[in-house]
């Protein structure tokens, strides 16, 4: 703020960039100007918001700090630039000027959970929005999920078909109202309506339920054990009473989802706290405007059927995030199951006709509404680990808010990064910002694949994105990689094929604001698997990495994937591969004849597997840490013969650890020694098997065995890192931990603590998922670095 007349009345021009449109920014400034007796104007333009303000120097000085203090909840300022405003005749009032149109550079807002004011209104019998399920305001409500194109105006959303009534219009036009320019605002008179109906369309009367309205009737149906399909903000959900075991089992059976934990929703924190431990960070996350599903440690004894999350130590809870959910749960003292309305791996359904057809036979009742879901957005999932909230799935509430890039990432071309195969997201770079899509899912499923392409087109449209460079994973079989190759050929664009774990590392570097020219940092990448630079399958690697380079200096000693992809589904195949590798099959059977895993293996065609292993036929070599977790889980008989969802074995293994057990482990942890492996630092899993199997044989509790594995692995990883550090001697004592295995809270906390105690600065992901959900962001950054060099 430089002016020659610092203490005279003068004018200032403030350029604001960030998420500042459609969030009530202008009325906030307007009100502040009234308070401080400042005059001038404010307008939205293609770059964000422009404020021109005039007044006494004293008052002007107070303006910016007060603004930053009273920012509307959904606003995010990325950049402020101030300059003098030279004006002939000082303005005599403060005005909001109608928008100027132009190329839009401001971000698209994610959907936000209902604000307290809106909830209060919805529950207030004397308010005109009493029990109105679509109440929202400038500070809350749907955004991205209803947006067809920009600019963000009602006409460009699925609210276009609901013309404002007179009351809503006057709120909409009043700068002093919470609903000033709230595009999705609505009420009973003019807005969308919720409607309960039978799945088969047959008539019924609300009287039957002696209910207040359709939502109340749906609540009553849930209470009687019915499964109800509910249309939410970003898709349909299937709901049932979480305390009703037969309803939960029926839902699981009908949906074909035997084990995967089901998400729960409860009225408030107090209800949740009866079933799970809610820490301060958990509480904040649950109550945040993003309102994700938060995985919380379950309380014992649990007064819910185990089938809501069989074998898991955490329950996924969320709070109501729309008025409809608030109304539905109003009178519930216990949680309901609220799981995405889809079949097996298919995307969450957003269209009512499709929902009725595809989910035929799952729900008998549908609570739907007539506000179209334009963009499918799943619920986000997060967990608190090592002192931070960490996203496991980034979707509703988070996407597609832009991510700012670290220092040095400027003057970038527009980049399209297409992500991975499973847990896919894609990422656009434009105007030196990254826009990461919401969670898409498994691209091998044709419905996800179609959705992916629709969303790609939508994003490119919404953000006026014209790619100049394409980034893909190096795996030739990924659907996204093949698509990227095709786009690059069709448009004649440079194509960056980026090694899987390099992208994982870069995603963490980018999230932690490591500048572009930072020297190489020691990096541990642990995941299921990724295509390696040597054409082999990697997944337990030690690198020196920055955005430009990723040099492998160590690996988990490889094992065989017996039967290729089959080894990802059947965890015991990895146990067998580890047995071949360590103590040998014959020894194993002689020495450990009475284990359950021995019984199971003896029923398999072991001679064939032994041949496969020896010859490498249908048994590609793979250094994956994810598979080592599978191997241990199956050895302990903690995993089913065939997994029903990805990561299941590792989750069950971690969940087996009883509270307080980790702290008790001192001796007896299973260590993986660091060995020379050609020119690499090998981490050798073989020595863990003899003690682990012996512990199993003598009947040591699985809780302790699992704890010994986790503790031993963390200690071994630490030694590996320390040795890697000595050998490579990088410039800084920083360490990147990346890859899906670090979603294991126990492992992350153990390793992070030990590293920090030894003076390492640990960089791990939090705002982006550690799994492949963050991969496209990393791809985009590596591609950007290449473009700049």
């Amino acid at each position: 703020m430089n002016t020659v007349f610092a203490d005279e009345p003068h004018g200032e021009c403030i350029r604001v960039r960030g998420l500042v449109q459609g969030v009530g920014f202008r009325p906030t400034v307007w009100r502040l100007a009234q308070e401080l007796a400042l005059t001038g104007e404010i307008l939205n333009d293609s770059e964000g918001v422009l404020i021109r303000i005039w007044g006494e120097a004293e008052d002007l000085k107070r303006f910016l700090p007060s603004l930053l203090e009273s920012l509307p909840p959904l606003a995010r300022i990325d950049k402020l630039e101030c300059s003098d405003w030279v004006v002939g005749k000082p303005p005599d009032s403060f005005r909001i000027i109608a928008s100027e149109r132009g190329a839009i550079h401001t971000g698209v807002l994610p959907d936000a959970a209902s604000c307290d004011d809106c909830v209060r209104e919805t529950l207030d019998p004397f308010n005109r929005r009493y029990r109105y399920p679509f109440t929202n305001c400038t500070h809350c409500g749907p955004r991205f999920s209803i947006l067809r194109k920009i600019p963000y105006d009602r006409a460009n959303t699925s609210m276009a078909q609901f013309p404002l009534c007179e009351d809503c219009r006057s709120e909409y036009e009043n700068p002093d109202d919470r609903r000033f320019h709230a595009q999705p605002t609505a009420c009973h008179v003019c807005g969308p309506k919720a409607r309960l109906r039978r799945q088969d369309g047959s008539p019924f009367s609300l009287d039957r339920f002696t209910s207040l309205d359709d939502i109340d009737a749906a609540a009553n149906l849930l209470r009687t054990g019915e499964i109800v399909l509910i249309k939410g903000i970003g898709g349909f959900h299937l709901a049932c009473d979480a305390a009703n075991a037969s309803a939960v089992n029926r839902l699981r059976e009908r949906k074909g989802r035997p084990h995967k934990p089901l998400a729960l929703m409860a009225r408030d924190i107090e209800v949740i706290a009866r079933y799970a431990e809610v820490g301060e960070l958990d509480r904040r996350a649950l109550l945040s405007k993003e309102a994700p599903i938060v995985l919380l440690k379950r309380r014992e004894p649990l007064s819910l059927p185990d089938s809501v999350a069989p074998g898991m130590c955490r329950l996924g809870f969320m709070l109501p995030y729309t008025p409809l959910h608030h109304l539905l749960l109003r009178r519930w003292e216990r949680p309901i199951v609220l799981t995405s309305g889809n079949l097996t791996d298919a995307p969450q359904i957003t269209d009512e006709v499709e929902a009725i057809e595809a989910l035929d036979g799952i729900a008998d009742w549908i609570l739907s509404h007539d506000r179209t879901i334009v963009n499918r957005v799943d619920d986000s999932v997060a967990v608190v680990a090592a002192g931070e909230l960490r996203l496991l799935r980034r979707a509703r509430g988070y996407a597609p808010a832009p991510l700012s890039l670290p220092e040095g990432f400027s003057g970038l071309p527009q980049i399209l990064a297409l992500g991975s195969e499973l847990k896919n997201t894609f990422c656009l770079i434009k105007d030196d910002q990254a826009i990461l899509s919401q969670h898409m899912g498994d691209l091998a499923d044709v419905r996800v694949w179609e959705e992916y392409q629709i969303q790609l087109a939508r994003y490119r449209d919404l953000f006026a994105h014209e790619p100049e460079r394409i980034a893909i994973d190096a795996h030739p079989g990924y659907h996204a990689s093949q698509l990227g190759q095709k786009i690059s050929e069709e448009l004649g664009l440079p194509l960056d094929q980026i090694q899987h774990h390099h992208a994982h590392a870069a995603a963490v570097l980018g999230e932690r604001a490591i500048p572009i020219d930072h020297p190489l940092i020691l990096t541990v990448a642990l995941d299921g698997l990724g295509y390696g630079l040597d054409g082999a399958l990697w997944g337990g690697e030690l690198f020196l990495a920055n955005y430009h380079r990723c040099q492998r200096i160590g690996r988990l000693l490889p094992s065989a994937l017996l039967g290729g992809e089959q080894a990802m589904r059947e965890p015991w195949r990895n146990t067998l591969a580890q047995i071949f590798l360590s103590i040998g099959l014959k020894n194993f059977i002689e020495e450990f004849p009475d284990l359950a895993i021995t019984d199971w293996l003896k029923k398999q065609p072991l001679a064939v597997y032994e041949h496969m292993w020896r010859q490498g036929t249908r048994a590609p070599s793979c250094s994956s840490m994810g598979r080592l977790f599978d191997a241990v889980a199956a050895a302990c008989s903690l995993a089913p013969e065939r997994l029903s969802f990805e990561g299941q074995a590792a989750m069950l293994l971690e969940a087996a650890i009883a509270p307080g057990m980790i702290e008790k482990i001192d001796d007896g942890a299973y260590l993986l020694p660091v060995v020379t492996d050609g020119g690499l630092l090998g981490l050798d899993p073989r020595p863990l098997w003899q003690p682990l199997l012996s512990d199993l044989r003598r009947g040591l509790e699985l809780s302790e065995i699992s704890a010994r594995f986790h503790v031993g692995l963390a200690r071994s990883l630490y030694s590996w890192i320390e040795e890697g550090f000595q050998r490579a001697n990088p410039d800084s004592r920083k360490i990147v931990l990346c890859g899906g295995v670090f979603q294991n809270v126990t492992l992350l906390e153990l390793l992070q603590t030990q590293l920090q105690d030894s003076g390492f600065e640990v960089l791990a992901s939090a705002r982006l998922p550690a799994n492949d959900g963050g991969l496209s962001f990393g791809q985009a950054l590596v591609s950007a670095a290449r473009a700049l060099s």
Binding site: A346, V446, L537, G564, V608, C622
Partner: protein
Amino acid sequence: LSHGSGGKAMRDLIEGLILPALGASSTTPLEDQARIDVPEIVGNGGRIAFTTDSYVVDPLSFPGGDIGTLAINGTVNDLAVGGARPTVLSCSLILEEGLPFAILEKMMCSMARAAQAAGVRIVTGDTKVVPRGSADKLFINTAGIGIIPKDVNLEIARIRPGDQLLLNGHLGDHGAAILKARGDLALDADVQSDCQPLHRIIAALLAAAPGTRCIRDVTRGGLATVLNEFAQGAGVGMRIVEDSIPVRPAVRGICEVLGLDPLYLANEGKLLAVVPAEEAGAALEALRACPEGTNAEIIGEVLPNPPGRVVLSSHFGGERIVDMLVGEQLPRIC
């Protein structure tokens, strides 16, 4: 067997072993070409189908067949799926020095038997012996000529949305038999190659379903490859239903253990026919009435969209994309 120079040793080999085995008489002078009468196609609108294929397989013999039966049936089938009646074949042999006579003789005999069973004649041929290591035991090339009757016109471009996809029996028998025959995996399963000529069943199919759009023999690359070629060639989508695709339990067992997908396994006696919906019932009946099609099934249908994409509806409501094979079946899951 030693490396010949085209002299007496070669003449002895051909006259003494190959010709008798293939049923030709050594008294007929050896001409440099076969001369074929083609009265049927002159003037009545028929066309000649002409194809060639080379056969290399390890091991040479496997349960249900050998390289000789493959060399006949493979080329016969390539003619047959175009709607042709196969008539004559050529046969070129490339022998590795040192190949035992007994093996060569056995292969020649089984070629002759397969030709006879298929009703085709081998009318010309060639033999070369190459130094050890320049070839693996025995390679065979056969070319074949067939006659396509006047009104038969099978083309990928004729595929239309709504058409039904018919398969004449169990998938993957040949691929599984080869895996077992290699013997290096100690597979214990009763599997036999499905190697068989398909021109008769195709004739029956065309008689019952004259509107048949096109037919392809499902060989290397498996059903997945044929479906993708059809979908891309015709610019249509295709959906197959997992539960309706016949796979023998023994083959499924091998696939489970090895992590293979039967959709990608090789076959040597399977065809995929695209038939308009209104003729699908008759077509299925005709297939099932033939010994080559006892286990025929309707396995899916042609969709308008998305062009070029093949989808598998799985048992639990999943809908997986069925790709062309990229290299080995390389794991993708992270």
